[in-house]
């Protein structure tokens, strides 16, 4: 066949598909505005960093040291005292009613023990209904107590701690979770709509009966597949670009890599997603089915991608499942390029699986166009 004619036919098909997606103004808004709003809102919301924690103080020691420790807590900028308790019976109500995330209980012998040169325990009761927040609060408290100890020992002419740990972090010096989340959203948010759009494309034509017309038109199944794949890939890349803009210009998260590497990586990722979407679409009889299948798939893809909790924390069988999860590779790829400034070549452990997913799903979709069991 004449290659020029093939290209012309493909362009016609792509144009038609893009028109279907973009001709409705409501659809155009739906593809841009939510993405931008979500990246703004989730950029602020998706943080595990403790910014504001309430605490209640029960100081039974009433000494210079206990007052000094309480002052350190109040001045920390993280802990805000919402109650000052009088006795131990007040502890439970303060936690139960969520008046305080933590109760810091300084026992009656605190000052005395310190004066005698002995360890003085401080009891902390934390509301662990949200275990992540509870552990974060404990870590901050431990830091404040360390500072208190250092100061107290200095004031009383004692040597500092024998070993000091100097900590620094690569790629994210302030350990800000937003730096992790927004680049992850570049892949995750654009995946949702790209997958849904693609899942609808063939199912819509099936439901409306126009797919038969397409099949008898002078297109090979591969050409139909390519024509159906290119428009949603463009939409997905455009959405990623919007989130990237929010991330760099609104949240000012420094972009360390090269744009070419990022978009080459995203192209691989979006192609794999579109392959999955087209296969779903070819398998479904109706739009409703296509959308339900797509959605049922989106859930595990999102939850097991490392977006919410790290892949490394998962038990081994679940980690095996994530081996076929394109979003896992997409998120890793964006992180490595965006934060760590990696090029595309060293990322073969992300790019090869994405290529493999495309190499399976795209031909499968083309084959299913003709061979689907009705």
């Amino acid at each position: 066949m004449n290659p020029a004619a093939t290209v012309a036919r493909l362009l016609a098909l792509c144009r038609k598909e893009l028109l279907i997606i973009l001709k409705d103004p409501a659809n155009r808004i739906l593809l841009v505005v939510p993405i931008v709003l979500q990246s703004l809102v989730f950029g602020y919301a998706a943080t595990y960093d403790l910014k504001h924690a309430t605490y209640a103080l029960l100081d039974q020691s009433h000494g210079a040291a206990s007052t000094q420790l309480a002052a350190r807590l109040d001045a920390s900028g993280v802990f805000e005292r919402t109650a000052t308790l009088r006795n131990e019976a007040d502890i439970a109500p303060a936690i139960d009613a969520q008046q305080a995330l933590a109760v810091v209980h300084i026992g009656p012998r605190f000052d005395q023990l310190l004066q005698q040169g002995q360890p003085a325990p401080v009891q902390v009761i934390v509301d662990a209904r949200n275990s992540a927040t509870a552990n974060n609060a404990l870590a901050y408290l431990a830091g404040i107590v360390d500072q208190f100890n250092a100061q107290w020992r200095r004031q009383h002419g004692m040597a500092g701690p024998p070993v000091v740990i100097d900590t620094r972090a690569w790629y994210n010096p302030n350990l800000d979770t937003r730096w992790y989340m927004l680049p992850a959203l570049i892949a995750a948010l654009s995946m949702i709509q790209t997958l849904m759009l693609t899942a609808l494309s063939v199912a819509r034509e099936r439901e409306q009966g126009t797919f038969d017309q397409l099949l008898v038109a002078p297109y090979t199944p591969t050409e139909i597949m390519v024509g159906k794949a290119i428009p949603p890939i463009l939409v997905g890349l455009a959405q990623s670009a919007f989130i990237l803009l929010v991330s760099v210009f609104w949240f000012r998260i420094p972009f360390s890599g090269s744009l070419a590497a990022l978009f080459a990586g995203l192209l691989l990722f979006t192609t794999a997603i579109v392959g999955v979407g087209l296969s779903i679409s070819a398998l479904s009889a109706t739009m409703q089915q296509a959308m339900l299948y797509a959605f049922i798939l989106i859930m595990p893809l999102m939850l097991l991608s490392g977006l919410a909790t790290p892949v490394e924390n998962m038990p081994q069988p679940m980690q095996w499942f994530t081996a076929v999860n394109p979003l896992r590779y997409g998120i890793d790829l964006v992180h490595r390029i965006y934060l760590e400034g990696s090029g595309l070549a060293p990322l073969w452990n992300d790019t090869l699986p994405l290529l493999a997913i495309s190499a399976v799903t795209l031909p499968l979709a083309a084959w299913l166009f003709r061979h689907r069991l009705a």
Binding site: P119, V124, L303
Partner: protein, 377 residues
């Protein structure tokens, strides 16, 4: 035409039967209603976790004296850390750049000499991309090093244990400190939201899109009956999904259920009605399957995931976003669930949140009723 109570019940029963058949006929619906909760239970119970285990940490010993080796011995005892001895700092940095280790612990060559002089330094370099995980690993490494240090101080009586405040943490409501207990209430909220809003929005939008609702309008049924008949079967599917989740929570994950089960069921029904109402309103506004599903995702599912306080604590968000979170019905349901499952019956709080949910039910049902009129465009 009969408008008596008898006619109402007869028509409602007939319509409900039709809707139930329609629901059962499509495999996709059942997959969503019952299959998805099972998938989510497995993912939340066995997949998602904040608990770091066996994080690879490179150790660079530029000082190989017994004192230095003693100092880092605590690291190999921690179940959360898998130490890897690496020859040089450059090798360790290369491993970290390739993502093979999560942190580097470095002991400088003058470590034991400085320790004898009074104070020595240990370097800790973290792979900070996943900030939350990095901070957890930092906590484990520091704890492992401190533990060893305390033991050493105990043994060498030359330096007394010394005056220092020590923390004694107690974790209430989650003594086991596992993230599963805290993720399970979120799972229940997600299932209710998905079945309620997403499935209902999709199904109703399809009826609008294909004009099958219009053919119902020419029959003597009233819009309120159409709506009720839609709600009843999806309510049942939603409750079945929720029952699965509650059973899994109790028997698979041993979540304690300190509060009353009646209260758990009652607030779940209330929230499911909110979700259904939202689905009905979305579909009657958009009347288009793609738009309805996207809007259902954007206004119900994604906020329930990101803004309800299920993954990310609302207390850490800026005031504007936190306020937005508190507007969401999912937040109120989640607050109640977490307390009922992990803390107990805290009635004033349950009454307050339930009243807000009830307000949403009435508001959304009224809106759905107002939007579903017997008229053609």
């Amino acid at each position: 035409m009969t408008f008596g109570a008898h006619g109402f019940w007869r028509r409602l029963a007939a319509l409900t039967k039709k809707e139930t058949r329609q629901l059962l006929r499509d495999r996709g619906n059942l997959l969503m209603g019952l299959g998805l909760p099972i998938v989510l239970i497995v993912i939340f119970g066995y997949g998602m976790s904040f608990d770091v285990k066996n994080a690879p940490v490179a150790i660079v010993m530029q000082d190989s004296s017994p004192t230095a080796r003693e100092a880092i011995a605590g690291l190999s005892l921690s179940p959360s850390i898998a130490p890897v001895i690496v020859g040089t700092m450059r090798d360790a940095e290369r491993l970290m750049a390739r993502g093979k280790v999560d942190a580097i612990v470095g002991l400088p060559s003058d470590f034991s000499r400085n320790l004898d002089l009074g104070q020595a330094h240990i370097q800790l370099v973290l792979h900070g991309t996943d900030a939350n995980r990095a901070r957890i690993i930092q906590g484990y490494v520091e704890a492992a090093l401190a533990l060893r240090q305390a033991k050493q101080a105990d043994r060498s009586a030359q330096s007394p244990p010394g005056a220092m405040a020590t923390l004694e943490p107690r974790l209430w409501f989650n003594a086991a400190n596992t993230s599963t207990w805290f993720l399970v209430p979120g799972l229940i909220v997600l299932v209710a939201t998905l079945v309620g809003s997403f499935l209902t929005a999709l199904v109703m939008a399809r009826e609008w899109e294909r004009g099958t609702l219009e053919s119902l309008f020419v029959t003597p049924v009233r819009p309120i009956e159409i709506l009720l008949a839609k709600i009843i079967p999806y309510f049942c599917v939603g409750m079945a999904g929720l029952a699965l989740c509650l059973l899994a929570a109790r028997f698979l994950f041993q979540v304690p259920f300190y509060g009353s089960l009646t209260a758990v069921v009652a607030i779940s029904m209330l929230y499911l009605l909110v979700a259904l109402g939202l689905g009905l309103v979305i579909s009657s506004i958009t009347k288009n399957q793609f738009m309805a599903s996207q809007i259902a995702l954007i206004v119900s599912f994604l906020p329930a995931l990101m803004l309800s306080g299920f993954l990310f604590d609302l207390r850490n968000m800026p005031a504007m976003v936190e306020a937005l979170g508190h507007v969401l019905p999912a937040t109120h349901y989640l607050e109640m669930l977490k307390s009922l499952l992990l803390a107990g019956d805290i009635w004033p709080m349950i009454y307050r949140h339930s009243a807000i949910l009830l307000f949403y039910v009435l508001l959304l049902m009224a809106a759905a009723r107002a939007k579903t009129r017997k008229e053609l465009e």
